[in-house]
C-alpha cells in the first residue's frame, strides 16, 4: 500500500457524489451577498429559523462526511509516517493517539448515520467536498497534526456545540445527547493537537511558526467566508468555553474570530467585484 494519498483516492460507494470545487468557485451566484436576497442573511442556526430543520439536516450530512474524512485522516496518519526522531517521523505515542482518534471518528460516523436517520436525511443526499481530507494530506506530520487537530477538530467543536444548543433549544433529546458526547471527543482531539504541537516543536521555533501559519490558513478556509464566527448572524458560533478546555488561550481564540471576520470581508469584497464585472459584461 502506498503512502500519502490524495483526496481523489478516497474510497466511496455510489451514494456519494464529490462536489467539484471548481464548479463551486465558478458559481456566479457567489457574487450575491446574502443580504441582497429578499429575506436577508439566514443568520444563526437556531430552531426558530424558518428553515431550521432542513438546515440542520444539511449540516448533519456535512458533519457525517466530515467525520468520514476525519476517520480517514487519522487512519492515514497512523500509516503515512514511520516511528522515529527525524522531521518526517513521529513518536510511537503520537501514532497511538491517532489510532485512538480513528476509533473515535469511526464512532462519530456511526452516530452521524443514526442521527441522519433520526433527522430524515439519506446517506449521500448532499454532495461531499474533500476540503477536510486535503488538510490531512500534508506530508509534514507537525503541519498535518496542527492543521487537522487544531484547526479542523477545533471547527468540529464549534459545529457540535452549535448543534448541541440547537438540540437543547428544540428539546431534541437524541441530538443533544449525541452532540454532547461527540463534543467531549473533539475536545480530546484538539488537546492532542495542542499537546503534540508543543512537544514536537519545543526545540524548533521555526517549525512551530510554520505549523501555526498552516493552522491559520486552514482556520480561515474553514470559516467559510463567515459561516463560522462570533457575530450574531454567523450560523456556527465559536465555542470559546470548549476550545479553552482543549488548550486554546484567549489570544488564539481572538485570532480565530478575527480570521473569520477577515474571511467574511474577503468574500463580500469578492462578491462586490464579481457584481461589478457582471454589470460591465451585461450579465
Amino acid at each position: 500500500m502506498k503512502k500519502l494519498i490524495s483526496p481523489e483516492e478516497l474510497g466511496r460507494d455510489d451514494r456519494f457524489e464529490r462536489a467539484d470545487m471548481m464548479d463551486r468557485i465558478a458559481d456566479p451566484r457567489n457574487a450575491t451577498p446574502p443580504e441582497d436576497s429578499k429575506r436577508g442573511r439566514p443568520g444563526r442556526l437556531t430552531p426558530d429559523r424558518a428553515d431550521a430543520s432542513d438546515s440542520a439536516r444539511a449540516l448533519m450530512h456535512g458533519i457525517f462526511v466530515g467525520e468520514i474524512q476525519a476517520l480517514e485522516g487519522a487512519g492515514r496518519t497512523c500509516y503515512d509516517f514511520e516511528v522515529g526522531k527525524g522531521d518526517d517521523d513521529v513518536p510511537f505515542e503520537l501514532k497511538l493517539d491517532m489510532a485512538r482518534q480513528c476509533w473515535d471518528e469511526a464512532r462519530h460516523c456511526e452516530i452521524s448515520v443514526k442521527l441522519s436517520d433520526w433527522m430524515g436525511t439519506g446517506i449521500g443526499e448532499f454532495s461531499e467536498n474533500a476540503f477536510l481530507f486535503q488538510a490531512a494530506c500534508n506530508p509534514d506530520p507537525v503541519l498535518r497534526l496542527t492543521g487537522v487537530n487544531r484547526a479542523l477538530e477545533g471547527l468540529a467543536i464549534d459545529v457540535f456545540n452549535t448543534m448541541r444548543e440547537f438540540g437543547d433549544l428544540a428539546g431534541d433529546p437524541v441530538l443533544e445527547f449525541c452532540e454532547d458526547w461527540m463534543l467531549a471527543d473533539e475536545v480530546t482531539h484538539v488537546k492532542m493537537g495542542s499537546d503534540w504541537l508543543r512537544k514536537l516543536t519545543v526545540n524548533d521555533k521555526e517549525r512551530q511558526k510554520k505549523a501555526l501559519e498552516f493552522q491559520k490558513v486552514v482556520d480561515k478556509l474553514f470559516s467559510f467566508g463567515g459561516l463560522r464566527g462570533e457575530e450574531d448572524d454567523n450560523p456556527i458560533q465559536l465555542a470559546r468555553r470548549f476550545r479553552e478546555l482543549a488548550g486554546f488561550d484567549d489570544e488564539e481564540m481572538e485570532e480565530i474570530a478575527e480570521l473569520s471576520r477577515e474571511a467574511r470581508a474577503e468574500v463580500e469584497e469578492r462578491g462586490r467585484l464579481a457584481r461589478e464585472a457582471n454589470v460591465q459584461s451585461g450579465v
Partner: protein
Amino acid sequence: MTTTVTPSTFTMVEYDAGVITGIADELADKVGLTGVDIEIEIDETVPLGRNRLESVDPVHIWVESGAFEDAKKFRQFSEVNAADVLGRHLMRAADRRSDAFGNPADDGDLSLEHRAAWDIYTVGRLTRLGYPANRQRWLYDFRNRHGFTDVTDRIFDELWNGTDLTWDRVSALSDEAAASNSGKLNRKPA
C-alpha cells in the same frame, strides 16, 4: 389560466422555465388548483433555498434558486426538489382558495408551529397524489416545532394521513401538540 416562470431564461443556473412550468401545471391539476394564474418567481442570483407563497390570486410563489437545485450538483435542476417546494405551495394555495378549508392568517403572520402542521397535512396529501416524500424528514420537522413527545407523534400521524381537514382542525391539532412541548423554543412567526 396561465403559468409564468420568471426569468424565462436562466443565466446563472441550468434551469429550464418550460420544465418548471410543466411540473407546476401537473401539480396544479392534481391539487385541484383551477381558474387562477400561477406565477413562479425565481431569484437565480441566490444559492440559498428559501421560498414562500406570496399571494393566491394570482398564485405567486417566490423561491431562491437553491430551492430547486440538485443537492449533489451545483446549479443543476432537481425535479424532485422543485415538485416538493411547488407542490406544498400550490396545495396550500388551493387550501386558501377553498371556502371549506377556512381562513388561515397570512403566511407572514402564521406561527412556525401552525405553518409546520399545515406542511405535514400538505405533504401527506402530496404523497398520496404520487409525489413521494421522506416521512422521517417531515416528522423531524414537526417534532422540532412541537416537541419530541408521543402526543406530537400521534398528531403528526393524524395530519399526515388527514383528508378534508379544515384550518381550524389543523391549527387545533398543532396547538394540542405544542401544549405538550416542554422545550425552550422561542416562538416567532415564520
